[in-house]
Amino acid sequence: MAGTNDIVIKIATVNGTGSASANGLLRKAIFRMGVPVVGKNYFPSNIQGLPTWYEIRVTKDGYQSRSDRVDIMVAMNVQTYSQDMADVAPGGWLIYDSTWPRSRQLDRDDITVIGVPLSRLCNERFDGVRTRILMKNIAYVGVIAALTNIDLKVIMGLLEETFAAKQHLIAANMEAIHLGYDYAMEKFSGPPTPKVEKMDATRRHIVIDGNTASALGCVYAGATVGAWYPITPSTSLMDAFRAFCARYRIDPESGKRTYAIIQAEDELAAIGMVFGASWMGARAFTPTSGPGISLMSEFIGYGYYAEIPAVIFNVQRTGPSTGMPTRTQQSDILSCAYASHGDTKHVLLFPADPYECFTMAPQAFDLADRLQTPVMVLSDLDIGMNDWMVPEFEWDENYVHDRGKVLSAEDVEEMEVFYRYLDVDGDGIPYRTLPGTHPKGSYFTRGSGHTKYGAYTENAADYQEVIDRLDVKWETARKLVPEPEIAYSKFNNAAILTVGSGNGACKEALDRLGEQNVGLNYCRVKAFPFSESVREFIDKHEVVYVVEQNRDAQLRALLILDFNLRPDKLVSLLHYNGIPMNAGFVVEKILEEITKGRAA
């Protein structure tokens, strides 16, 4: 049930009508009042005309995932009106534009329906079709502000910041707010909605999407080359990188760029460019999504075998094939872990939210350089394109980037002879040289069979020696990747294990289950290869519920493969319809398992 600072507001509009800024204004106003919020987009793969929703969850407990109810629906889209009405929780509220009559039969008597003539109010006050449409959006923000007690001074402050350069827009927008606000104050007499009350729970926090966070992480990581082919939902990552670089990557002396963004002809070329640049010693990356990974696969195997660093951001979307490009999923875990033919396996990082998108970007580059191998960061559409409240990012000025084992001209000069693929240190990681450094440092980079000296080979033993050494490196990777997040309750039989964006729903589910005296331990893996501590965690439990957002239990399969585990111990909870998972799903499924007699 809704309550103070525990409200879900969903806004149904039409794609391309400019509702994003109004929705952002509403979300920010609540955040500025010190109350935690979550903002989720549900949008079509379309530029204009199809239905789109924005959901604001006001959550005093600071939960990160989507809620399972809607308290206040702003039904601005006639096309989806009846569905939107059906989605309101019993006892909830629905606001609609009453400029035009609405068919009576659509009424529900267990909710409060509030008609506000938004179009008429705006048409009377504003000129121009576009302005009227935009102001109508702002006006519904006014209505919600009135119903839920959102502070108009906070809204005014936000408008002043947004339109600092266009003063007249501040007044106009504020007027639109008042059209809705005053109307609702005057006319509304139904059961009161829950209120937003000032709190102090957002200090030192920000609301940001994962793609922007990853892009900023790339800037701080010192990435200089970004090559890509546009694909939803990864496109905004490169857009953000471009914007940050325009600000921070212009050489003051020459006025030239200390970065390059190359829009490739396809993903095969994008990853080829990344390998070319990394081979030359630049920090290079490509953002993409599932279809792009499929295209890059041949090259990813090359990078693994020829040992070239690369960072790939896979913002996962719903597959298979084109699937649902604007919906979320975690269904590329296996295809990324084993991308490419032959014996290949790849280091994966799994951020859970934008905060980790920021921190894992420099980590990904460091690991790629250290391990001389492609590293993939697997976020998803939910993380990448939705608005998450996370702690403010921090940057440690003393941070030293790990550029790995790269020999300088002086190093090479001192050597008798240089061989590219020798395991000098016993960690499976050889030394490399950059082209243009020293004639003695040259070697021939190839994807064909090679000896530890870098020479072409078809000799069985020489081939196998290198392939086995790569496995030594894999075990080194296991020690270098980020450790899982682990939390113990007072019970110790069963646990939830999840990955990435499953974090929010699972943690909230743990709280709710706890209230019902079901105590579960928790593990969230942050990387593949899995750390030894993941195995230890699993070993301690009778049952581990593996919660993930794909149909085929890919994380579970990977755990079994990597650790050679007894499969019956890992019970799958799978959510894969494209909508971000919520806590209700996890709670329900766990309770079902318990009723079936499974341990808790």
Binding site: G222, W279, M280, H401, G436, P439, Y443
Partner: protein
């Protein structure tokens, strides 16, 4: 197996270039191609060109895809880094490498299958970007490495060893490059070293995308009677149209050229290439006229060779992108991060 001529001892009289290196210093591993393969002759021409231009071995980057032709970078300039990539994807790797470091000379060696079949997408886009590289296609009309299937450059009517003649229109790399705006386009023949070496030199020095399409017969799968990429057929039908001489910096143009036929083009390092038009009607600076000429000659069954087009004005990729000249790997990491304390400012809009 054939061997590139390799004197066992370095003869004291062996000519040295400005770096004090002999041509032996520009050799590579022993070739494993079939004896008589055209590709080995191209390798020899590359060695000659790089040696003559006094290129420091470690400042050359040898790029390739997959195929017999793509193997050859292992056979020249041992002391250069090489990148034998995946099939048809050499251009993208070179694009990335060049973006990160413009100071190396990039030479790519590819085949007709590698560039015109599987890799045609990357080939055309590298041209569009005017990537600064010397791009060599060792064109034999077949996939040598997979045993002789027709490639996209096979001519209509060309006969395979077994089976039916090719019926499909060939993709001609020269006219393709011309239509896409490549800035240096040449065609030659592996058996014509005198023409080939200066063309490669010009290509190495030209700023921008230089294509050298070289008919390079596959003796094992496409050198028989009825093949249009055989030694015999090429010798019979090929025609010099615009030859070039390479003139080193500070060297004078000494030879006598027929009035109106010689055209010097300055290269960025101060050297020149001198175009010698064998056919006075040909204009290697006009895309439209070059295109028509090539088409007419092609229809007449002639193989037109020489420096067929040059545009020394268009900016190359690096200049178009506006990157710093410093190799990206040499930029200090601190200089790539926003200034100290800036993060708080960056995050302001997200509060």
């Amino acid at each position: 197996m054939s061997y590139i001529a390799k004197p066992q001892v370095s003869h004291p009289s062996l000519r040295k270039n400005k770096l004090g290196l002999t041509s032996r210093d520009y050799e590579g591993a022993v070739s494993t191609l079939c004896a008589g393969c055209g590709h080995d002759s191209v390798t020899a021409a590359i060695i000659q060109a790089v040696f003559d231009l006094d290129i420091e071995p470690h400042m050359l980057a040898k790029m390739s895809g997959i195929g017999c032709s793509s193997k050859t970078p292992a056979y020249f300039v041992q002391q250069s880094h090489g990148f034998n990539s995946v099939h048809g994807r050499m251009p993208s790797v070179t694009t990335g490498a060049n973006t990160a470091n413009r100071h190396l000379t990039y030479i790519g060696v590819s085949g007709d299958g590698d560039s015109l079949s599987i890799g045609v997408g990357q080939f055309v886009h590298a041209i569009r970007r005017n990537l600064n590289m010397c791009y060599i296609i060792e064109n034999n009309g077949v996939y040598g490495l997979t045993k002789g299937q027709f490639s996209a450059s096979a001519d209509i009517g060309s006969k395979p060893k077994k089976g039916l003649p090719n019926q499909q229109e060939p993709i001609d790399p020269v006219s393709t490059a011309l239509s896409l705006g490549a800035t240096y386009i040449a065609r030659s023949f592996s058996g014509d070293k005198a023409q080939l070496v200066p063309l490669i030199k010009g290509a190495l020095l030209h700023k921008g995308f230089s294509l050298v399409d070289i008919i390079s017969p596959c003796v094992t799968f496409n050198d028989h009677e009825g093949s249009t990429k055989s030694y015999a057929h090429t010798r019979e039908f090929y025609n010099h149209v615009v030859d070039v001489d390479y003139i080193a910096p500070f060297e004078e143009i000494t030879a006598d050229y027929e009035q109106g036929s010689a055209m010097p083009v300055a290269l960025h390092d101060g050297s020149k290439i001198l175009l010698r038009k064998i056919d006075g009607d040909y204009d290697p600076t006009s895309r439209a006229r070059a295109f028509k000429y090539l088409r007419d000659r092609f229809n007449a069954g002639e193989i037109v060779t020489g420096l067929l087009y040059i545009d020394d004005e268009r900016k190359e990729m690096h200049d178009l992108m506006g990157n710093v000249d410093t190799p990206f790997a040499e930029l200090p990491m601190e200089s790539l991060r926003p200034p100290k304390g800036e993060l708080q400012k960056i995050l302001k809009p997200y509060r």
